[in-house]
Structure formats: C-alpha cells, structure tokens
C-alpha cells in the first residue's frame, strides 16, 4: 500500500511489520515521533509488543540486551547524545552476539548543543561491532528496518539502521508499506540457538580469560580473543548474508538496494562523488546538471558502512579519474572517516596498477548547516579537473569563517 508519511513513521511501520516483541526507548529529538508512533500502535492494540518507557538510553539498550538474551525480538531507537550514552551497551550487545535492531536518527553531537542533522553520532560508533546500514529515502527506511531483523538474526550481530534527522525523519514522502503476510514470509519468528531458560541454565557473558580454557569435561572453550576473532569473521561474512537478504527481499517485494552501494551515472563517470544517506540523492541533482554541461560525473552512496564493502567500492571506482567524498562527519585531527575508508579500499587497486584516482574530501552540513545545491555544484565542478592541487587538504562547504 502506498502512503505518504514521515521517515520516522516509515521506521515505526517497519518495526510493527517485523513483529518486534520488546521495545524500549527514551525520548530524544529527532527520534521521538518514531517511538511515539510505536507506543501509539501498541496502546491501540494494533501491535503486540511490550513497550518499556525507560529512564535513560543506557537502560533502553539494557532492556533490549536482556530481552534478546531471553529470546525476544528487541528494538530501540535513538539519536546523537542518546546513542553516545548507550556506548558501553552498544559494545556489550555486539560482544554478546544479540540481534537487536536500532534506528539511529542521525543528529549532530554536543557540545555545543545541536538538534540538527549530521552523521557524527553513528559514525563515532563505527568500531563497536554493529552492522550499520544507511537509508537514502523513506522507502529504504521501512525496507531496511525489516531487512535489518533478518540480517541481524541470521548473523547474530546487532544492526543500526541510520537515517538523516529532519531531512528524512520529519519530511513526508510517498512509500510502499509491505503487506504483513509477505513480511511474515520474508522474516520468520526469532528462534535463537540459546535463550535464558531455567530449564537449561547457562551463565552468559561471564569473565573470560586471555587464554583458552578447558570446561569441566576437558573440552577447550574460547578465550576472549577467539570470541573477538569470530565477531570479525562474522562481520565480514554478513556481507554475503546481506546479498542473500537483498535477493530474498527482491524476490518477495520486487524492489531492493545495491546491496552494498547505489551508483548513479557511474558507469562511464570520470569523477565520482561518494556520500552517505540522503546527501547522495541530493548529489544526483548536481550530477544531472554537470552531465548537461558535458562533464562525466556520477555519484555513489555507501549503503552499508560496517562491515565496509571495500571490494565492491574499489571495483566501482577503479575506472574513474577522481573521487570526491562529501561527508557530514569528521575524525578530528585527520579527515572524514568515510574518506579514509575509501582511500583504504582503492589501495589494493593502486597496488596492482601503480596509479590511482585522486581523492578529495569535503566536510559539510555539520550540525544542520544548510547544504545549498549551488554550493554542492560549485564544489563538485571545481573538483572535476585532472590534477587538483592540495588533494590532502580538507575542504569545507558552507563555512563562514
């Protein structure tokens, strides 16, 4: 069914269709309409789930961690400082291998306070062991929310579905709401290999030694490092699983994403812009303008940021002369984190050929600074030259200093 609704409602409907069983949330702008919608659906008995209005984000994820450990499908959502307040629990959920799904409605991080959009919040959680998906529009928000549960439960790795605060969360767009019966075909009930149960007691997340250790029957069990190695292996393996999840989704619903990247006018592009989220769609307008001027420009969005699809990205970028990374986040003291990752991804191509495209990095839109299409166009066009100078310098768009 096609409806016109906000991005937050798209996410809420995805959670409903996924039959999440335990939902815990704490209010933070711009996430609130999402969790308000879920509480409304549950109070109106349009959705069967336990809604727990916790006293903090740290507790929100604690509720999800425990509920997931006991075998329930758990969901939470947050933004910015709420996400950072969860930080310890974010690591914990991944380390405990719990398939929790969390929507991150992207917002800049204080201090100073800002409620507006950038990507610093979720990007700063890059190394926690969660899968991160970035939605570019409302359809992707609802679809990713449903796909995230399957991906998480197949891999026993938690998933963040990230989408831009206000730009997507509070804007209204038409999108298709899948039928419940088809979502049920796509996403079977959550059945973990082990759930806390007095009938078969186990002690979860016990203190684990640096080295491997024998159990009471003499069988060797993992040490801490083996457990971490397996998380890394399964994170890498989750890219194959994402391909299967996307294929399954496409077979049932007739639409889908990348799965790793979405390319627009990239096949013959000499200059390719790279971005996360709705910014990549904004850049499509700029690409159209540049193409109309005879410049072979294209834009690529990265749909899954962790695990990082380095091979797919390197392949997509191998023929172009220049890569321009537009970012709403910063690794202070260096450059945009996505830019570093893109450079790393193209490195093995460079190793084979001895040459590589130039990579420019633009920082923009921090704390909701308006991204003006003309500014994007000027920056992109100025980058479409064969040998740009000062490629290592970070470039800022819209800065008034």
């Amino acid at each position: 069914m096609q409806i016109i609704e906000s991005g937050n409602v798209a996410a809420a409907l995805g959670v409903k269709l996924s039959r999440a069983q335990v939902i815990a949330a704490y209010p933070i702008t711009p996430q609130t309409p999402l969790t308000e919608k879920l509480s409304e659906l549950i109070e109106a008995q349009d959705m069967q789930a336990q809604y727990i209005p916790v006293e903090s984000e740290h507790s929100a994820l604690a509720v999800c961690i425990a509920a997931s450990s006991a075998g329930a499908r758990a969901f939470t959502a947050t933004s910015a400082n709420g996400l950072l307040y969860m930080h310890e629990q974010i690591h914990w959920a991944a380390g405990a291998r719990l398939p929790i799904v969390m929507c991150v409605v992207n917002r800049g991080v204080g201090a100073p306070w800002t409620v507006w959009n950038d990507h610093q919040d979720s990007i700063s959680q890059r190394d926690t062991g969660w899968i991160q998906l970035y939605a570019n529009d409302h359809q992707q928000i609802i679809d990713y929310t449903i796909k995230a549960f399957l991906l998480a439960e197949e891999m026993m790795i938690p998933v963040m579905v990230c989408y831009d605060g206000y730009l997507l969360s509070h804007t209204y767009m038409p999108f298709d709401v899948p039928e419940q019966s088809r979502v049920d075909d796509f996403l079977p009930p959550y059945k973990p290999a082990y759930a806390l149960d007095p009938g078969s007691p186990a002690n979860l997340n016990t203190v684990t030694l640096p080295d491997v250790r024998a159990d009471i029957n003499g069988k060797m069990a993992h040490g801490y490092m083996e457990i971490r190695h397996l998380l890394q292996e399964d994170m890498r393996g989750s890219m194959d699983m994402l391909v299967r999840v996307e294929t399954r989704f496409k077979n049932i619903f007739g639409r889908g994403v990348g799965p790793f990247i979405e390319s627009y006018q990239c096949d013959d592009a000499r200059y390719i812009a790279v971005a996360l989220g709705s910014l990549s769609y904004h850049l499509r307008d700029v690409v159209d303008t540049l193409r109309s001027e005879g410049i072979k420009a294209g834009v690529m969005s990265v749909q899954i940021y962790r695990p990082f699809p380095a091979a797919a990205i390197a392949e997509a970028l191998k023929k172009c002369a220049g890569i321009i990374v537009f970012e709403k986040a910063l690794s202070y003291g260096y450059q945009g984190p996505l830019c570093s990752d893109i450079k790393s991804a193209i490195f093995h191509n460079a190793g084979n050929t001895g040459s590589h495209p130039f990579v420019l990095n633009y920082i923009l839109g921090l704390g909701g600074r308006e991204i003006v299409t003309k500014d994007l166009y000027d920056a992109f066009k100025a980058s479409c030259i064969d040998k740009p100078e000062k490629v290592d310098d970070l470039r800022w768009i819209g800065l008034k200093i």
Binding site: H58, A70, T206
Partner: protein
C-alpha cells in the same frame, strides 16, 4: 505470620557449587547459597560486575546452577525489566526474575536504573548485598561505606561522610516490600526472600554482608561481626511492608530485651575502624541510642 524456616526445613538442593571463587570467610557465600535456596530453580538471575561476578566463576565454568545474565555495571534493574518484557512477550509465566548486585552497583552507579524500574512497577526482586565498599576492585569507598572506615581511597582519615541509606530511598518509592537482612542471619534472609516474592512490582532486599579482607577481621569471624552489627543496634533488621515499618528477627528480639551491646564491640572487631577515636564512637553510640529510644517508645505506644 508465615512459619519461620529452620535449618531442618531448608531445601536440601544446592543451587551454587561449593569451592567457588569467593574469598575465605566471605559472607556473600552464605547469603547467596541460602538466597538461591529461597528463590528456587525457576529463577533467572541478573548480575552486574561485583564480587558475585568473581564467585560465579570464569568462562566456561560457572558456580551457579541458575540461568545467569552478566550485565554492565549500571544496568542490573533495566536488564531485569528486559527479561520480564521478554518472558511476557513469549508467554512464559511464573519465572522469578532477580537482580543481585553489590552496594556500589546499587547505591552508586545502578541507582538510576533501579529507581526507574521501581517507578514503572516492574515485577522483580532486587537484592543488594552490602559489603560497604568496592571490594572486588580492592576496597574503595562506596556510597554505603560507613563514616570512619578506612578504604584504599580513604586511606588515612577514613570516610568522612555518612553511609547512604538505600533501603529508605527504596521505601520512598512506595514499593510494596523493602527489607533489610544480614548474612549472619541466613534463615531470616530465606524467609524474607520467600515473602518478597509474593508481592508485586520491585521488591528490595538489602543484605549487610561482612567482608573479611575489606573490613579487616579473620575469615572465621564473618558471622560474629555480622551479628555484632545487629546486636549493637547499628544495623537494624526490618521490613517495610506496604508502607508499614517494623523491626524483625534479631532486631525485634533486641526490642523485647531492651538491651543493646555497646557499639565499640563492633568497631573494635575490625581494623578498618582503627582510626576512629573513642569520642567518635561515642557520638555514633549516641545516634544509635536516640534511634532505638524511638523504637522503644513506639513499642510503648502500641
């Protein structure tokens, strides 16, 4: 009133293995062993970092025969809430959910999530074993460390502040059942756990738990020191049953006998109070006497 449990009527089945990693003479070992007997097998337990984490053992060997979820320091109560949510969503009934945390995990870092759960009325039992400091990390002061106690980070003057009264804070939430216990009176603890399980919402038990290395006494004196805390009137055993407070067990007997041991007997049995002067002990004695005068008077009025 329910019949009191005695040593012969305790359930025989042990739910924690002997030879676990608790220190010699650890009173938590007593409270945990008897407490689990009261809870029974149909229980899921939530444990934050604490001495209990050590007692529980090192992966892949566990001392507890119940399903146990180790959680982050601040999140015991919220995790218990999450378990309840899952059990409800999955239609699993009549499973006891119990948070079992230390005093640091309760009075300091865990107080916010515990308060939130009380306000929401989530139906679980929360047990705080109070060994009056961060013993697991090497005896640092906590909110419940008493005035004058030497710890690793109050090493010369002793703690300069009063003990935080968590049980009163919990009772102020208006929850149905709050009780204090001592590891030195395990049968009273058993009865209070059984009673607590019959109430709705969060139930709170606070167990005074002597710690030989942290408090500075020989391991064989854990029960003796625990009893001295009660018999001097310093730590009262009581329950707040739907808002009605009454002394219980050994403290109630003191009320009948109207005679407390001198507080100095308790303080001089532990090296952590060695810098506490006689004058300071006398001040504490006066506080105890004033408090108990109130108990005696309320007894006269009933």
């Amino acid at each position: 009133m329910q019949s009191k449990t005695n040593i012969l009527s305790l359930p025989e089945e042990e739910l924690v293995y002997p030879g676990n990693r608790a220190c010699a003479g650890c009173a938590l070992g007593i409270a945990y062993r008897i407490g689990l007997k009261a809870l029974g097998k149909n229980t899921i337990i939530v444990v934050p970092p604490s001495c209990l984490t050590v007692l529980q053992g090192l992966f892949p060997i566990a001392a507890t025969k119940l399903p146990s979820l180790n959680v982050t320091f601040a999140s015991t109560a919220a995790a218990a809430t999450g378990l309840l949510g899952a059990l409800k969503a999955l239609g699993k009934k009549n499973i006891n959910v119990v948070g079992w945390a230390g005093d640091g995990g309760t009075s300091d870092i865990g107080l916010q999530s515990l308060s939130g759960a009380c306000e929401r009325g989530d139906n679980f039992l929360y047990i705080c074993y109070d060994n009056e400091g961060y013993m697991n990390t090497g005896v640092q002061r906590s909110g419940t460390t008493p005035l004058g106690a030497l710890t690793a980070n109050t090493p010369i003057k002793g703690k300069l502040q009063q003990k935080k009264d968590v049980s009163t804070i919990m009772a102020a939430h208006g929850i149905e059942y709050v009780a204090t216990c001592s590891a030195a009176y395990p049968l009273d603890l058993f009865d209070k756990i059984r009673k607590a399980l019959t109430y709705n919402g969060v139930k709170y038990l606070h167990i005074h738990t002597p710690c030989p290395p942290g408090w500075g006494f020989e391991p064989r004196y854990a029960v003796k020191v625990g009893k001295l805390a009660v018999e001097t009137g310093l730590f009262e055993l009581y329950e707040v049953d739907r808002g009605h407070m009454r002394l219980t067990g050994a403290s109630n007997k003191l009320l009948e006998k109207r005679k407390l041991l001198p507080a100095t007997d308790y303080f001089r049995a532990q090296s952590r109070f060695k810098t506490l002067s006689d004058a300071q002990i006398e001040e504490i004695q006066q506080d105890i006497d004033t408090r108990w005068k109130g108990y005696f008077e309320s007894l006269n009025n009933t």
